[in-house]
Symmetry: C2
Subunit: 332 residues, 2 copies
């Protein structure tokens, strides 16, 4: 009896393991994995830096201004607002799951999150500070100096440590446990039949060719306007700006579809206001398909199952400036 | 024996109660009390609204932009940045402990937090929306409609509910348990002898005349430049703007000194960058006193004991806009 029970048990376990692994391994979309091997000291420091507007010249703009973690890691604007209300050149991509991207920025000009983090601080159109000024601010604040010492073992703050800490925090901003991931992991009731039909369409029609993997995107550069040209007044030229190769003109990093319901408006120019519009344009331009209203709605329904658990943490308290801290100059 | 023990016990208890009540009742500064009788549904809704930049025309500025709860409930700027980077007319007062104020704004033009909350939303120099537009945005978002229904019992969102919820959230933003309050409540070791000397000076020299009570301020209007006139290019005229009475010219609500180490720069024009500077100017202008460097430092040391427990909560997640939600127009 005991052996029989054991055999039955093993059979049961292997069936579950097998059915899970079929789902996880055979689908071209993979569940988002919770984050591993994180340096918590860096995360806590990086969280403060991410929310600290003193990294900007004005003292008003932080990483969180354009990658707002209350709003899907974006600003939900077509293009962002920079120093002195300058209009940004491109739509702010979500910071959520950005650690899974092949490279950072729409044109991939930063290899990773650490390299990315230094960009906006010193970009005259964004935070408009300099690395020197930002470091002077941090170095003047004893509580920051202590925290850098604790985390990096030295009281000399440099931009490598600043960007490393921000990147480490950003690595925690993954969004597992979406309804679609629950389905991928074996819960057949996690999505509706309409949503499942949307996923089937998404695969069969070819969206999956670019939007696959853990992020449903973020892992390749593709031409915007593959079948028909994309008409826009936006001047961004994508990967061409990085490689200088003609074949890379209008190639952009494929955006992730994770949390897409939260990260409107869509495309690098932010010109698609709704998912319905974005799906319709993508169908035409990238696949030469005119989706029926019904099929479009099914795909949109599927896309809305991709919203995962949002980052949840206590609002960070920033250490106060002291008398010698360089003052912000928003109006100079 | 039992009766003797009881008598000793009662004597012991009454001594503690008495000594506590001497401290709490006899000092002109009172400890901040933790908040009571709060409507938690309104608080959670109000927290979202406080962080929601869609209450502004640009979709970029929220209450938290200028009353940043990571930075002492202020923006740490001389005067704030409004819609399209307009320079604000006056220093943003902290939202911390603002429920204890006699009235809201530097000139007291709003009777309470609820009345205050409606102001910046519709102020063309601040969030630059209109109540109509802000309500249209909220009413378009099903998750907000559901939450208003749950909290206020109706699906018709109006500005009264919006400001009531924000005000209820703001009531939770008190900061009890500062080291000075610990001292007031009987812990003699909570502050140093220098800090205590600073408090004695603060009382004896007369700062306490205006900076008293739970908030060390916020409970009266006083002329800025009582003994000598205050020289500033700032055009604010204070209470005069509300009453039209000549005697009210340059009368401002006395700012709270709670968390003053975090709420730099100081005065209604934000022109005092440091506490040392602010204490020195106050001494001269309001009391006709030239503090020695040593006495100034003692008062500053005392002031730094007034930083209490900062509000601590999970960053709110904002319900996503839907297709019909009016779009932000930052650059129109």
């Amino acid at each position: 009896m005991k052996i029989k029970t054991l055999i039955l048990y093993l059979f049961f376990i292997s069936t579950i393991a097998c059915s899970s692994s079929i789902l996880a391994n055979d689908e071209p979309v993979k569940p988002i994995a919770p984050v591993k091997e994180i340096n918590l000291g860096q995360v806590e420091l990086g969280k403060k830096l991410f929310f600290d507007p003193r990294l900007s010249r004005s003292g008003f703009i932080s990483c969180n201004s354009c990658h707002n973690l209350s709003m899907g890691g974006t600003d939900n604007l077509k293009t962002s607002i920079g120093h002195k209300w300058q209009q940004g050149p491109i739509n702010s991509p979500t910071v959520l799951n950005s650690s899974l991207n092949i490279a950072q920025f729409w044109d991939g000009r930063a290899a990773d999150l650490k390299e990315q983090a230094g960009g906006p601080i010193a970009n005259p159109g964004e935070m408009a500070s300099t690395h020197t000024l930002a470091l002077d601010v941090l170095q003047s604040i004893p509580a920051y100096v202590r925290e850098f010492k604790q985390v990096f073992g030295t009281t000399e703050i440099n931009i490598e440590y600043v960007t490393e800490a921000i990147a480490e925090f950003e690595k925690t901003l993954v969004t597992p446990n979406s309804r679609f991931d629950q389905w991928l992991l074996g819960d057949e009731n996690a999505i509706t039949s309409t949503e499942l039909a949307g996923y089937s369409l998404f695969k069969n029609i070819g969206c999956i060719a670019c939007h696959n993997g853990e992020s449903l995107g973020g892992n390749s550069f593709q031409k915007m306007g593959l079948v028909s040209p994309y008409v826009t007044t936006n001047k961004a030229e994508g990967l061409f700006g990085v490689t200088g190769k003609d074949m890379d003109r209008f190639k952009f990093k494929v955006p992730t579809l994770r949390n897409i319901e939260l990260t409107y408006p869509y495309f690098h120019d932010g010109e698609a206001a709704t998912l319905t519009e974005a799906v319709s344009i993508m169908g035409k331009l990238q696949l030469g398909q005119n989706f029926t209203q019904e099929n479009n709605a099914k795909i949109v329904a599927f896309l809305k199952t991709l919203t995962g658990d949002q980052p949840s943490f206590i609002i960070p308290l920033l250490p106060a400036s002291v008398d010698k801290t360089p003052k912000p100059t928003p109006f100079d």
